[in-house]
């Protein structure tokens, strides 16, 4: 690996060693910020992702279904959503800082905002793509508007909703990194930026791999929920 500039790319052994210390702590007492602090950083970041992503799901899924199902809601809300959607999440940082300050709320806001758009757009599409015959069958059997939304449109849109959730959780991790770089002073994103400033590329690489693992795990978790939430799809899939 001679062609790599000296001192920029750490060796795998160095990364593994530093990461172990970061996770389990040094054998001797250490003042290093990278001794035994990894799990705390992960928890901080994960908490922000869970809260922001959870908020985006709680608002985005019902709102998306309503937009896709009701023409009136669509006319009322959809133009506003489409207006805000192209604004990159990074462009919101100054606004978030001014509004929420250097607190968790800023990070959670940015995560929620980033995850909201893929979630709401996919839920909308799922509700719009529903087979008209299913709606007719429900109405023919006397389903009220509320039952139609809850018991027909919602399950029918489930595949799209979960696509939105998977995309949304990916954006959540991106948003948590940037918000921890600039808005709050804890978490993996903060560790990444801080390690860069003090020239600890081994820690930077360990953080990148950590994010990769967390992203992978959260995606798996959503897939697991999908399988649990849609048992009828397992039959179709096995054919």
């Amino acid at each position: 690996m001679d062609w790599l500039p000296e001192g920029i790319v750490p060796s795998p052994e160095a990364v593994a060693r530093s990461w172990r210390t970061w996770i389990f702590g040094a054998a001797t007492r250490s003042l290093s910020p990278y001794s035994g602090t990894w799990s705390g950083a992960v928890l901080h970041s994960a908490e922000r992702v869970i809260e922001g992503f959870g908020l985006a799901t709680l608002i985005g899924v019902p709102l998306g279904l309503l937009i896709g199902w009701s023409r009136r809601t669509s006319d009322l809300v959809d133009p506003t959503i489409q207006l805000f959607r192209p604004v990159p999440i990074t462009a919101w940082i100054p606004f978030a800082l001014a509004f929420f300050g250097i607190y968790d709320a800023s990070a959670i806001f940015l995560v929620a905002l980033g995850a909201f758009f893929p979630i709401v757009v996919n839920a909308t599409q799922g509700a719009r793509d529903i087979d008209i015959l299913l709606l007719r069958a429900g109405r023919m059997m006397g389903a009220s508007r509320a039952v139609e939304l809850r018991s027909i449109v919602f399950p029918a849109a489930m595949p799209s909703i979960f696509t939105g959730l998977r995309l949304g959780v990916g954006v959540s991790w991106t948003a948590v990194i940037i918000s921890e770089m600039v808005a709050v002073k804890s978490g993996l994103g903060y560790a990444l930026w801080d390690a860069y400033y003090v020239g600890r590329m081994d820690i930077c690489v360990a953080t990148m791999i950590s994010f990769g693992l967390l992203g992978f795990l959260s995606d798996r978790l959503i897939l697991l929920c999908w399988r649990y939430a849609a048992p009828w799809r397992r039959i179709g899939a096995s054919r």
Binding site: D131, R136, A137, R139, A143, P155, A156
Partner: protein, 268 residues
């Protein structure tokens, strides 16, 4: 040929001077022209016509999914404005809820009507038995064959005990053997309940086998070309298709339809 020799009974379905006009690419196209027909209670009526003649549009208007451009549709004297559990529909594609088990699909209507499980569950079990699906109550639609799905579609409507049964080519997508089994099942069910049925099909044999009265429709624009009373003895089985009267009527209808089919196929 018309059914006026019958005793006057309550008209279950009344279609009066119904027109349906679509706007296609800036041009007005008549899908239905001046359709008038009356279906008495407990009658099995088939509407026979080539694809694209507007017969499904007509059925959708009786169901309340679609509305005439002009004219009126009444069921038991009441103008149809929206879908209602009093008018049960069996669709060409089963239109079952994929996320509901067979039993949950069948009882969906009963649950909307706030009926008590103690009342509707035994009935649902009896109807599933009748359509031969008792062993499949817990299965999802994805696990069923096309014929079984249509039986679920029929069962869920039967449990609602509607005033009229509307069937939109319900066996059109099935293979010939399954279709003839389904026709026998429907005859059996009909003998038991004697419900008013409006049955839409493009299959001459099917219309003759099932119906008391057959309305023959023309292709675009849809009009009623002829009405035939089918005097085959009931209860019927597929065996009636071998009766001499059956093939005579078939020949008669074929002749009526041929001009239509030719005309439709030469149109662009």
């Amino acid at each position: 040929m018309a059914a006026d020799w019958r005793e006057p009974m309550t008209a279950a379905i009344e279609i009066a001077e119904v027109w349906k006009r679509f706007n296609r690419a800036g041009r007005d196209v008549d899908a239905l022209q001046a359709i008038s027909l009356t279906i008495q209670a407990n009658e099995f009526v088939a509407i026979l016509g080539p694809s694209g003649c507007g017969k499904s549009t007509l059925l959708n208007m009786v169901a309340g999914f679609d509305h005439p451009t002009s004219g009126a549709v009444r069921v038991n004297g009441e103008a149809v404005t929206a879908p209602s559990p009093r008018r049960g529909v069996v669709f060409q594609e089963s239109a079952l809820f994929p996320w509901c088990s067979v039993l949950d699909n069948v009882t969906f209507g009963a649950r909307q009507q706030k009926r008590r499980p103690a009342e509707y569950l035994p009935k649902a079990a009896a109807i599933l038995e009748q359509v031969g699906l008792s062993a499949f109550a817990a299965h999802y639609p994805a696990e069923l064959s096309g014929g079984m799905k249509q039986r679920v579609g029929l069962a869920r409507v039967l449990l609602m005990a509607p005033q009229v049964l509307l069937m939109d080519e319900p066996f059109g997508a099935l293979d010939a053997q399954t279709r003839s089994l389904m026709q026998e099942l429907l005859l059996e069910v009909w003998e038991r309940n004697r419900q008013t049925v409006l049955f839409v099909t493009h299959d001459i044999d099917e219309a003759l086998l099932l119906a008391d009265i057959v309305y023959i429709m023309t292709a675009r624009p849809g009009r009623i070309k002829a009405v035939l009373s089918i005097d085959l003895p009931r209860p019927r089985t597929v065996a009636v298709t071998t009766l001499p009267g059956f093939s005579e009527m078939k020949t008669q209808i074929r002749a009526l339809i041929r001009d239509e089919a030719v005309r439709a196929s030469t149109e662009v």
